[in-house]
């Protein structure tokens, strides 16, 4: 593969980097990244990965754009309200960078469809907003040996970690979803829009550094920040031998869906 004159100019600020160069940019152009959730986290992640020239970007989201999304989901514009999020996001990505092939999945991930969706991708970004989906993505990625970036945000807080086969997984740290109602959703608790941008952008950087094979990924550590006081900290984590999915005696050997109260989901687009 040879970079065209236009690509050399478009990606010049990447190519200049010692850790990227032409060879690294070509890796990016050949990479396939799946973004599950085209909302607060997925929107910035998708824009940065598209700008970077990630060859194939998959977008999974069954929702339509709501006016209340626009405060943070920067890939969607006012005129996109009521459109499918994946269609709105695809249009922006294609306008930003014609080098990117966009594949859309206008659906929610569940135990039956997730394996087929993640199969063709090199790296997966969890940009979902609910625990059942987060545990499902973790389980599917562990069972199918797929690297992924976990991300979660609420109010002014964000947390993220990266899983590579063999490193600590989400369940090593968080054994199972919290009881229903124990953790409020973004629609109940609120979220500073810029916090979504901060975390989604970290996730995009993880994907790019994984593709490049450079630097130290957020594996075996959980990055936590609070944007109200702008404090960052890291918690070292390690693979848990008692982990129900990647431990020594795994009890989860196939995918299951946790129940998500319907009212939670409904309230977000009918509120």
């Amino acid at each position: 593969m040879n970079l065209t004159e236009e690509q050399i100019e478009r990606y010049s600020r990447h190519i200049i980097l010692k850790d990227v160069g032409g060879a690294g940019q070509e890796k990016i152009l050949q990479a396939k990244v799946l973004i599950i959730g085209t909302g607060g986290l997925g929107a910035p992640a998708a824009l940065y990965l598209a700008a970077a020239g990630v060859g194939t970007i998959g977008l999974v989201d069954g929702d339509t754009v709501d006016l209340s999304n626009l405060q943070r989901q920067v890939i969607h514009f006012t005129a996109d309200v009521k459109r499918l999020k994946v269609d709105s996001a695809r249009e922006k990505i294609e306008a930003l960078n014609p080098d990117v092939k966009v594949v859309t999945y206008p659906e929610r991930v569940h135990a039956e469809n997730i394996a087929a969706i993640i199969k063709d991708y090199d790296f997966i970004i969890d940009g979902t907003d609910n625990f059942p989906a987060k545990f499902l993505i973790n389980d599917a990625c562990v069972l199918h040996s797929k690297p992924f970036s976990h991300g979660g945000i609420l109010r002014f807080d964000g947390q993220t970690m990266t899983y590579l086969p063999g490193s600590a997984c989400y369940r090593c740290v968080f054994n199972s979803p919290p009881p229903k109602g124990a953790v409020p959703t973004c629609s109940e608790a609120g979220i500073l829009g810029a916090v979504a941008g901060m975390l989604g952008t970290i996730q995009a950087a993880e994907a790019l550094r994984y593709i490049l094979g450079k630097g130290k990924l957020l594996t075996n550590r959980l990055l936590i920040f609070n944007a109200l006081d702008m404090e960052y900290r890291q918690v070292n984590i390690r693979q848990n031998p008692e982990c129900p999915i990647c431990g020594e005696r795994p009890i989860i050997t196939k995918l299951v869906d946790y129940e998500q109260p319907v009212c939670d989901l409904r309230s977000r687009y009918h509120a």
Binding site: I8, E9, S12, I15, I16, K18, G21, G22, A23
Partner: protein
Amino acid sequence: MGQEIKKSLDLHGVVCPLNFVKTKLALETLNSGEWLEVILDEGDAMLNVPRSLKEEGHRIVKVTPLGQTYSVIVEKGA
């Protein structure tokens, strides 16, 4: 100094940082220790490109003035 020039690149009229980007891409096609010749404009290009190349671990072997441009021979680093 008996080494041959593997590749030559005329970057006269190519502005910063694209001249460095193109030099870098040309060096990626060489093996370490091989030589690349680039023609650079005097001024910004000559101030910036050789310095950036050195920062990336390449060696400037020889600089020859050619009127308003320079021929710069670079040895690819490890």
